[in-house]
Symmetry: C2
Subunit: 231 residues, 2 copies
DNA sequence: GTCTATAAAGTGATAGAC
DNA sequence: GTCTATCACTTTATAGAC
């Protein structure tokens, strides 16, 4: 392991930054190690020295973003369960706990909001081969926890139906993150350029409505005005 | 242009079939012309002979599937407008007209349902560079028509809000099409292996609920029991 | 840690024989 | 129309000098 603050391996940080930018813009599959070293003004061999292989570089980029995000998600979910001790947290708050950490991630990152969102979206849609199994276990654990919370918030929805609805929600999220500029182009600007906060609010309302479809009696106190929300 | 039924260019059909299968399984970016010719048991030069370039091959694969699909979509939309002459077609039926042509596409194709869905999903998420502008115009025309119909069905939703909700719906659809087997793995089989009909029914209900979120007064007769639908 | 040089394999495309 | 042979690059990765 290398200390990212030591002067010797500023190069490593530069490589990671360059890699993140290019992966966000173009996708993991089509960015070569040469693209990365060129943008980072580093030597071709630097990638292999610091990360072993190209896949090693991808794994580090993924881990650096996905691990803190999933930790934050789980922490928020636990806070939620403590707050509603005994009772079942309402749907909106569960979804909020799942997506709001994205805002914090944007603030912490050096990348622009647009690029970081694209990177995270691409990470979420990564298929098995590219991510180390430790990360995959972690992601699965997080997703299991959330699905269980959703199931409790929506007892009237069968597990099978809930699995599909959750799948739709994840798809909508990934597309929102990766293709936000596409929407702007396709609508000739009608979509506006809203802040992350506004977009997340829209997404949460959309997702909850879809998840809740056909449910007459919600589990707990979740019906009624949602004026407690700040978006 | 070549006649696909002539004996001389069975090879061309074999190449298209092989290309479709590989593009569906792995994505356009990562399939080489050699992968295609190998699977089609054809010569390397055959791709360039029949399609000019690799991009030409992709364009033909895309056009062969996207053009009839968009035509069918528009035809269904027009049928709908005739049926509701003067009045505004209800949301469910507009979304149905948008996604149901997928079922017909599956029936017509030689590919398995799973592969064809993946291919179509990948086509929908293609970014500009890879598809000829004629196809892009066609896709934009179709999508404009549908957004206008959605706007009429949901007059209470602002154009900006509607643009984002539609974006979420498209994202959910793409993810459903490309990653249906991922869901099965991730849920340890809880999601089941439903037919296309069932999945589309789920999707339509989810999408309509999301699009309709917060709308109290629908435009026309669309409120009330939806028993007229066959899914 | 950083560099050059190079290996070994893969890429899209084409000329020219048949 | 189909094939072989080949061009001109690009890819990841590594050995070895500094």
């Amino acid at each position: 392991m290398h200390d990212l603050k030591s002067p010797q391996s500023q190069a490593k940080r530069r490589l990671l930054d360059a890699a993140e930018q290019l992966f966000a813009e173009r996708g993991f599959e089509v960015v070569s190690v040469r693209d990365v070293t060129q943008l980072a003004k580093a030597n071709v061999a630097a990638i292999n020295y610091h990360f072993g292989t190209r896949d090693g570089l991808i794994a580090q980029v993924v881990a650096r973003h996905l691990t803190p995000l999933n930790e934050e998600r789980l922490a928020r979910l636990e806070t939620l369960e403590r707050k509603w001790s005994g009772k079942v947290p309402p749907l909106e708050e569960v979804i909020d706990a799942f997506v709001r950490p994205l805002v914090g991630a944007v603030r912490k990152s050096d990348l622009s909001e647009r690029l970081l969102c694209a990177l995270l979206g691409r990470i979420f849609s990564l298929q098995g081969a590219l991510l180390p199994s430790s990360i995959e276990d972690q992601a699965r654990h997080s997703s299991d926890r959330f699905i269980r919370s959703l199931g409790k918030a929506l007892p009237a929805v069968s597990p099978e139906e809930l699995a599909w609805r959750t799948h739709f929600v994840i798809g909508a999220m990934i597309h929102m993150l990766v293709n936000q500029d596409l929407l702007h182009r396709m609508t000739n600007g009608v979509s506006g350029v809203p802040s992350m906060e506004v977009t997340l609010g829209r997404f949460i309302r959309f997702a909850c409505a879809g998840l809740r479809e056909g449910v007459e009696e919600e589990c707990a106190v979740t019906k009624g005005p949602q004026a407690t929300f700040d978006f």
